[in-house]
Amino acid sequence: MPAKTLEAKVRPAPGGTGVAIIDLRGEINSFGEAALNAAYAEASQSNPPAILLNFSGVDYINSTGIALIVGVLAQARKTGCRLLTTGLSSHYVEIFHITRLADFMNIYPDEASALAGVTR
């Protein structure tokens, strides 16, 4: 099975909050490193208060993928940017809890509640 490449697209959140959204699609593994880092660099250019990682198009995250997310989280924390997530399947929600990533990134069931969470 050829590995599905990761697509990562950046868009501003609706409502002028300045929040950037990264829509992820594919697999988060070693092959996705360049795409994820490039998308994060693009999203963080405007110094947004928060970046929402949308995992709803992601069907596979492996340990290398977790390491990539840790890397992005470390960058975000240096600049005081909050990272939020949405679209994680229940399995990966569990993995975010096991790895304690959930302690540093709020997990929301959908985009609207994530954005509401930022403004609160």
């Binding site: 596979y60 840790v70 470390a74 790895t99």
Partner: protein
Amino acid sequence: MATLLRNFWQSLTGGDDRNAEATAAPVPERPREAAAPAILPLEIAPNDPLAAYFQSSPGTVEVDRINLDSAALRALKAAGVKMVMPLVSQGELIGLLNLGPRLSEQDYSSDDGGLLSNLGAQASPAVRVAQLVRQQQLEAQARERLEQELRVGRLVQQTLLPKELPTLPGWDVAAHYQPARAVGGDFYDFVYLADGRLGIFIGDVSDKGVPAALVMATTRAILRGAAQRTSAPGEVLEQANDLLHPDIPPKMFVTCLYAILDPATGRLVFANAGHDLPYRRGRAGVDELRATGMPLGLMAGMRYEQKEIQLLPGERVLFHSDGIAEAHAPDRKMFGFPRLRDLMASAPETSLVNFLLAELARFTGPGWEQEDDVTLVILERTAAPREGVVAWRAVLDFAIPSEPGNEREAMKRVAEAAETLGMPPARLERLKTAVAEAIMNAIEHGNKNRPEIPVGVRLLASDGALAVRITDQGGGRPIPKAQTPDLDAKLAGRQTPRGWGLFLIEKMVDEMRVTSDETTHTIELILQLKGNENASQNA
């Protein structure tokens, strides 16, 4: 110029087969008088003096002035050709531009000759390129036809191999089939006999490609039929030989060994039609299981000797095809039967398939072009089950090349089998993550990303649980104990962001065991079939 062009008919001719392809271009009709340019099919034999004459001509040649005893020259004259511009590319005659008489009925002038020479000089390379392109197209088509035939052969063969391994309490049955690119005609099969006994076939058709695949399919059907009619292996081979012999293509034959195991007693009865001798690893060492008989399909009315052995707990038998023993190292040294026999003697108790494949990979080195199909079937009587010990049966046993990304396919195969066994979706996800991580570790850390070294994957099932055993060839070094990664240190940059694999595996499974010997590491993942994690799933 206009007159000249209207007047000539082009001829792309030549004296060898390759050039003949150029003349095969569509020719509507042989031109008459002032017809449009057309192709004159003309063969110049390689020994025709005209070929040498044209090849050395620097420019146009007036046909009437040539004085040679040449069949091609007579053909040119008969076709009314007056002037010829030989097309020569890199010293080779590749065609002719032929002109009939001028419409004006005057002779060709030296200007005409010069113009034609110019045209010829420009046309030659273009014609050569066209010929080469055509030649390559034909070669590509021929290759494609061959590939297609190999694909069909492979498909027939693989469709007929058993999809599942027999599960017998107290026995481990493993099989591995690795096709050569050209498909060697190997097969193996299991037949379930009425009284609980198991029939085991292994064979090899003496040819490759589609013909071999069809003979293999026929042989398999005949053997299956015969095995159901009679329960003596010698008689089964005898009947199969007599049925196969009238229909098998000349010079083709099938080697085949048939054995019947009684799992209750460990009695193994077998007969052999010229196939490679199986090895038994018994308590006293390794011996060959000999029984004489001619290959199937060579002669009618053959008799097959029948032998019998008793397999004790802990003993194993290796059935194999010559693909492994006749594999060659880069220095052309052959793997050989003695080596295979020695390996049987020294094999660890873990998966024999993986051990042999790893030894084969070590012997042939990286980049081995596999010469013939490699087929292994292993029958092992497991040590007598003790009270309270879980009885595992093998569900899957396969190997994958150590290339990053291959863990996905293996993960899928294991998950599909686990789903069939009734594992609920949330458990399946945990199983998938654990299996993928363990295989990634085996590929990267155990086998150092070397594709020729396989990662072995076995899935076993007991009544309420699954075990996945993943074996790499990185033995000799212990696998480090899983430690809880320090996320704060990672976020602060004091630790690498990586290092989650083993930790994740441990969290996903109910039990994880690591065993190592001098050559291999095996990580065993155990999950209860039904878990109780659904409560925490909706976090």
